[in-house]
């Protein structure tokens, strides 16, 4: 027994699998479209390099940040968060019934399922600035339009994730309740919702974070909040005031994310 080399009856498979012609064409196509996209975006490293002094000058003028209008900036910041918070809470609440309709195992009728899914998809796929423009026309300039936008945003996000959480909820308790003759709403409220709750709370906190970030830019189209202050400051070349606003926004988003992650740990354990 000197020969320790094992000779399997079957040869191992090739190390690399040659892609099929279709896959190969796909790779080439994606690569080509990427180059075409760079061209479409007017890619110009020269411009970026030429612009660096501008950027430095801008940053230089931002410091030190101006504390001149701190009070009105603070007020706008509060308004921004109020929009985000109110919009999220209302959106999360409205998402629950919509998600029940959009959960395959819970929907009372298949047509309601499709209607709910379609509505949620519409809310999610149309970007929030478009919704904001739409609501500014509908209810006029101001934070109310922004809040409505964030409600729609929240429904688009939570509607989908709540429905998924409900579909994935533990089936055992649901079966136990239907075996004892419980009705549909009893099963939804006493088995499905409690099981889905941790995941739903998680989604709701994410929504609040998302809404806080989104609420900052909604002001750019007149839908209330700090965004308009930022735009005005930039347009008037008051970069030191813009800097205050940017730092404020940064802190607000940071605080909301921190608090949300602490809550998440507390609630979900």
């Amino acid at each position: 027994m000197t020969d320790m080399i094992v000779q399997p009856l079957h040869a191992p498979p090739p190390r690399l699998v040659r892609p099929s012609a279709g896959i190969f064409a796909l790779y080439v196509g994606v690569g080509a479209f990427f180059l075409f996209s760079l061209y479409g975006s007017n890619l110009s490293p020269a411009k970026l390099i030429d612009g660096l002094p501008n950027m430095l000058r801008l940053v230089g003028e931002m410091f030190p940040p101006s504390l001149e209008r701190l009070q009105s900036v603070g007020g706008a910041m509060l308004e921004t968060f109020q929009m985000a918070f109110a919009g999220t809470v209302i959106g999360v609440i409205l998402s629950v019934p919509l998600a029940i309709l959009a959960a395959r195992s819970l929907t009372p009728h298949i047509s309601l399922y499709y209607a709910a899914r379609w509505l949620i998809a519409l809310f999610r796929t149309v970007p929030d600035l478009v919704w904001a423009l739409f609501f500014v026309v509908t209810v006029g300039l101001g934070p109310f339009a922004g809040m409505l936008t964030l409600v729609v945003d929240a429904i688009g996000f939570c509607g989908r994730f709540f429905a998924e959480a409900m579909e994935e909820a533990d089936k055992g308790p649901q079966e136990a309740l239907s075996a004892l003759g419980a009705g549909r709403s009893e099963i939804v409220f006493s088995a499905v919702l409690p099981s889905a709750m941790p995941s739903m709370i998680n989604s709701a906190l994410f929504t609040l974070e998302k809404a806080t970030r989104a609420s900052v830019v909604l002001g750019l189209v007149g839908a209330g909040g700090i965004g308009i202050e930022l735009k005005v400051a930039m347009d008037l070349f008051q970069y030191d005031q813009a800097a205050t606003i940017i730092i404020g926004v940064f802190l607000l988003v940071l605080i909301v994310e921190r608090v949300s992650s602490i809550l998440r740990k507390l609630i979900l354990k």
Binding site: D170, G172, P173, E175, A176, L177, S178, A179, L180, G181, A182, G183, S185, E186, F189, S190, A191, P194, S195, M197, P198
Partner: protein
């Protein structure tokens, strides 16, 4: 692998419906008046066409009798119990429970029938995020609907008290406020039994009620369960892989094999080695 021993067992099974316990004799006499609680006739079920799980199974269970359903893994015991309440739709056959033809019931009537039949699962199937008391309260969903039977906090006093009473019956009154996912396996299963009692069932099914428990807890829970059933003189059909449990807690043992009933005998007429053969 021959069916011969089992077939002999069927022949030798004397007095199939005669209950073993003195108490149940009275029950079976009473059942002449009250009729049969469960009557399965010609039940067939297959999940894919070429492999029937249950073919032409018939079984009558008089009021007050306790039937142990045994058989190897995958012989269709769970399927049989689920078909009885149409948690799985049977392919064909007639099932009569408490005088009602299950296969002919519409949605609403089926719900009302299910309300009268307790079902204990192998997994306790409690709602993990809710309190023990809320979980027991859910048994009342057999009779009521609306927020008062969703959560204990919204329940009216009589229902809360009845739920506490059911918890006392399984010895867990002190755990009412605990979250259900903080319980041990044995405690969880006792809460599940309390939920079934809250339902005030007239007939009880149990699918391997103690299979996920350790031997001691399993023994304890099975004793408790059987005792509660006996005191209320309920009809019970339970499945088990414990030969010992089948013989002790069943008045009658029914064994499934290859889609049919291979053995149907009074528990007192059987002993462990005989029953073992059913698994060969």
């Amino acid at each position: 692998m021959s069916l011969a021993p089992a077939a002999r067992l069927v022949e030798s099974a004397i007095d199939v419906t005669a209950p073993a316990r003195p108490g149940a004799v009275a029950a079976s006499i009473a059942s002449v008046a009250t009729g049969t609680d469960l009557d399965i006739a010609g039940l067939c079920k297959s999940f894919d066409r070429d492999r029937p799980i249950l073919s032409n199974v018939s079984l009558r269970v008089p009021q007050g009798q306790s039937v142990a359903l045994v058989g190897s893994n995958g012989t269709g015991k769970s399927t049989l119990l689920r078909c009885c309440l149409r948690l799985i739709e049977p392919d064909s056959g007639a099932i009569t429970i408490l005088g009602r033809q299950v296969h002919a019931l519409g949605r609403a009537r089926l719900r009302r029938l299910r309300a009268e039949v307790g079902f204990v699962f192998q997994r306790h199937n409690l709602v993990a995020q809710l309190s023990v008391l809320s979980n027991v309260l859910h048994g009342a969903q057999a009779r009521h609907s609306g927020p008062r039977v969703w959560y204990q906090a919204l329940a009216p006093r009589p229902l809360r008290e009845e739920a506490m009473h059911c918890l006392e019956l399984v010895g867990l009154a002190d755990f009412a406020a605990r979250r259900a996912d903080c319980l041990s396996g044995g405690q969880s299963q006792r809460v599940a039994i309390a939920r079934t009692l809250m339902q005030r069932p007239r007939l009880m099914f149990a699918d391997e009620p103690v299979a996920s428990l350790d031997p001691n807890a399993g023994e304890e829970v099975m004793e408790l369960f059987a005792d509660l059933i006996r005191r209320q003189n309920l009809t019970l059909v339970f499945t088990s892989h414990h030969i010992d449990h089948a013989l002790r807690f069943g008045d009658r043992v029914v064994a499934l094999r290859k889609g049919g009933i291979a053995l149907d005998a009074a528990a007192r007429a059987l002993d462990a080695p005989t029953l073992r053969q059913i698994y060969d």
